[in-house]
Symmetry: C2
Amino acid sequence: MSVKHRWNTVAIVGVGLLGGSLGLALRERELAKNIVGIGRRQATLRKAKERKAVDSITTDLAKGVKDAELIVICTPVEQIVEHVRLAAQSCPEGALITDVGSTKGTIVEALASDLGRGVSFVGSHPLAGSEKAGVEFSRADLFVGRTVVVTPHRHTKADHYAAIASLWESLDARVLRMSAAAHDAAVASTSHVPHLLASALANATPGDLLPLAAGGWLDITRVAAGDAEMWRQILVENRVHVLKSLAKFEKVLTSFRAALEAGDQDRLLSLLEAGKKTRDSVGS
Amino acid sequence: MSVKHRWNTVAIVGVGLLGGSLGLALRERELAKNIVGIGRRQATLRKAKERKAVDSITTDLAKGVKDAELIVICTPVEQIVEHVRLAAQSCPEGALITDVGSTKGTIVEALASDLGRGVSFVGSHPLAGSEKAGVEFSRADLFVGRTVVVTPHRHTKADHYAAIASLWESLDARVLRMSAAAHDAAVASTSHVPHLLASALANATPGDLLPLAAGGWLDITRVAAGDAEMWRQILVENRVHVLKSLAKFEKVLTSFRAALEAGDQDRLLSLLEAGKKTRDSVGS
């Protein structure tokens, strides 16, 4: 483990599940002297302060970041580029900015150019989201044991990458370094297409059959309860990779259908066994 | 609640998760004086006896059922008809037989004719399965709050249906009366197609991306860890309904893909919102 960096002021823009949990985690570990919560809605900000996820709150982004060495943008993916740019104009010289967005390609590409005054952006994606959105579900241990993908771009300085990686490691997350493009291709398969399937299954299930929905159906569709607008943004931002990964899934599904239509029991069994083998190779 | 019926001897054929849990549940509630566990493998039977899921054990079906007023067949779906017929030959006159199979059409149809000597079969399907198979996962409270579908056939006598319904109700399950055909059509949508999707997703996810599989992927694919041979049998037995229900799912998935391909964000949002609404209408 690297030595834990302690920050003077950290600004968190967007205090929902991830932003709130980041504040709680930094406080619990005494990694930040001062945590500023920035958001659009006073009610949410007040909730974050009551939970002690942040020390002070403001709806004014420029004011909120003015003393921050580190700024973490936890807003929906379509707003991240704009919020990074706004923060870069008002933060101290040499400040570091990262985010928690579920897509990285567009964001990292847009922010690869010089932000001015030595301010630097390095993208992050903690794989710690949930269908339960909102600061009321935030937890100091949300990142413990989770994977955080950090996606440097071609101009990222080694010490800036290291600082962001150590931020997540200091919260006991496991950091994976990937290019933004590789990240987006990967999460299309592991997160975005799965979400789409869950939502499609929930859509396809007739309401009058829901009393028969048992453990399997509940597990499979759980993420479909996630915020629809947030997921619209993620799927649209990553649509090229999502469509590619969906085509791959549809090919496998066609194999299952073909085996079932043909009554090819050996083929069906071997497909089920391959799925079981993959699932058994990871945790519960 | 109906008055709880107390049985003298109950025979359980197949002591896995469901059979073992049934034994534990009957014992805990003192609903059976004597519980006989019947199975193929001595090792499994001994485990069931050690867990006190059954009082006595035997690999001889004929011997095991000879004093049983109630026989519950908990073997894989392809064997249920044969095991009911064997049990019917050796059990006392007027005994009641039920099962816990995930498909009902073929089984109920095959057993609708007279079994002789007043012996009667009424099919059951407790929606309480899990990817964790085996008597080691059995629990006395497995059926509490769960739905059990009971599927009488055209010759089922009212008091035989009532006895089987009251068996499950006495274990605090909620009984749904359905025809075998309606049951099979319903669970194709709520259980069998979902299983197929989970398995297909696990199959479609490249192994090198598994370190990026987070909560959503784990939830969605969980059931794919279920016993492959058991699921092959279920999918094959119910293939007509599964293929119909799969076609419906594929149509919805095509809507998602079309919205994404066309960049139709309003359509995509409304699909995600419909999925969320359905998912939100049931428990977590």
